[in-house]
């Protein structure tokens, strides 16, 4: 079995994909992941997921050149604030109290 291993470097940080281990079962995978991704105190927690349990989405049809949806070079912050003010949702927006 192949297990995908996700590693959390410090408490509160997101788990990030670290790699994978091949193991006959979950018990072995646990030991192998512990030694491979935790032996140098580089992780405070690991997630192990059997690769077969992962749902993968790998098809993104692009028949009409979806590039136009990208916002490269367009400052969205100011526009977004203005839109929130108009809609009266300024206080509801996450991080609205921040000076930025």
């Amino acid at each position: 079995m192949i297990f995908e291993v996700f590693r959390q470097e410090r408490k509160g940080q997101p788990f990030q994909h670290a790699g994978s281990v091949v193991a006959p079962d979950e018990q072995f995978a646990e030991i192998y992941a512990r030694e491979q991704y935790g032996r140098r105190q580089e992780s405070v927690a690991l997630w192990l997921v059997a690769r077969d349990d992962v749902t993968e989405i790998a098809e993104f049809p692009d028949e009409f050149d979806l590039k136009y949806r990208r916002v490269d070079g367009y400052s969205i912050k100011t526009r977004l604030r203005e839109a929130r003010e108009r809609a009266g949702t300024v206080d509801m927006a996450p991080g609205a109290s921040d000076a930025s």
């Binding site: 091949v22 018990q27 030694e35």
Partner: protein
């Protein structure tokens, strides 16, 4: 040498020599994940040895490195079980499991020692050894689950059994027998233990190799 130093050196030498033996699999273990895990376990054992040597060194007025590397083979206190060069996977696993089982019994005793330093280091070691035991037990489960594995484990355990008994003092040996027989669901031979203090020729060879880097540098070199 006090009984306390003798005890510390016995433990330290066991951990150092087994750590070295297990590290002989680095790069050639049956598969990559096992290679990394087993090497990491070997390093843990050597870390335990260092902590134990430091305690002994404080008492003897020397250093952990001198205790680890500068003694003659006869001065080592390790049990012959850890000295054997058994570069064959079933025997490696059998030794690992027998040692961890014996070590758990020994550490259980030492954790209740009236000497706070000994009790403390035993408790600390035990927290890491728990994962070594998990690893060893998993392999035993695995080997016991097939006829081929079962017979290979049996052959290896039977060969190593007198050596395993020798890891422990007399009074703790019945407990090792009880645990091992219960786990393997069979009787083990009534044999004399191969005691500490009598060394296998493999130990001198191991020390020759282990100390070669240190001997190649001028005394007092800093690493």
């Amino acid at each position: 040498m006090s009984d306390r130093t003798d005890l510390l050196l016995s433990l330290a030498d066991d951990e150092l020599v087994l750590g070295w033996r297990n590290s002989e699999w680095t790069g050639i273990a049956p598969f990559l994940e096992e290679d990394v895990a087993f090497s990491s376990i070997a390093q843990n054992e050597i870390g335990h040895a260092r902590a134990l040597y430091e305690l002994a060194a404080a008492e003897l007025g020397t250093t952990a490195d001198e205790l680890a590397f500068d003694r003659t083979p006869e001065e080592y206190r390790c049990a012959p079980l850890v000295e054997l060069r058994r570069l064959e996977w079933a025997r490696t696993i059998a030794r690992h499991w027998l040692y961890e089982t014996a070590d758990e019994i020994r550490l259980g005793e030492l954790k209740t020692s009236e000497d706070p330093e000994i009790a403390g280091i035993a408790a600390k070691m035990n927290r890491e050894e728990a994962y070594h035991r998990m690893h060893a037990e998993m392999w035993v489960d695995r080997l016991l689950s097939t006829d081929d594995g079962r017979s290979r484990l049996k052959e290896a355990v039977d060969e190593l059994w007198p050596y395993a008994l020798g890891v422990l003092d007399d009074e703790l040996r019945p407990e090792l027998r009880r645990r091992a027989e219960e786990r393997l669901e069979r009787k083990l031979a009534e044999v004399d233990a191969v005691p500490r203090g009598v060394h296998e020729s493999e130990l001198a060879e191991l020390l020759e190799e282990m100390t070669s880097v240190r001997r190649s540098a001028p005394p007092g070199s800093q690493w």
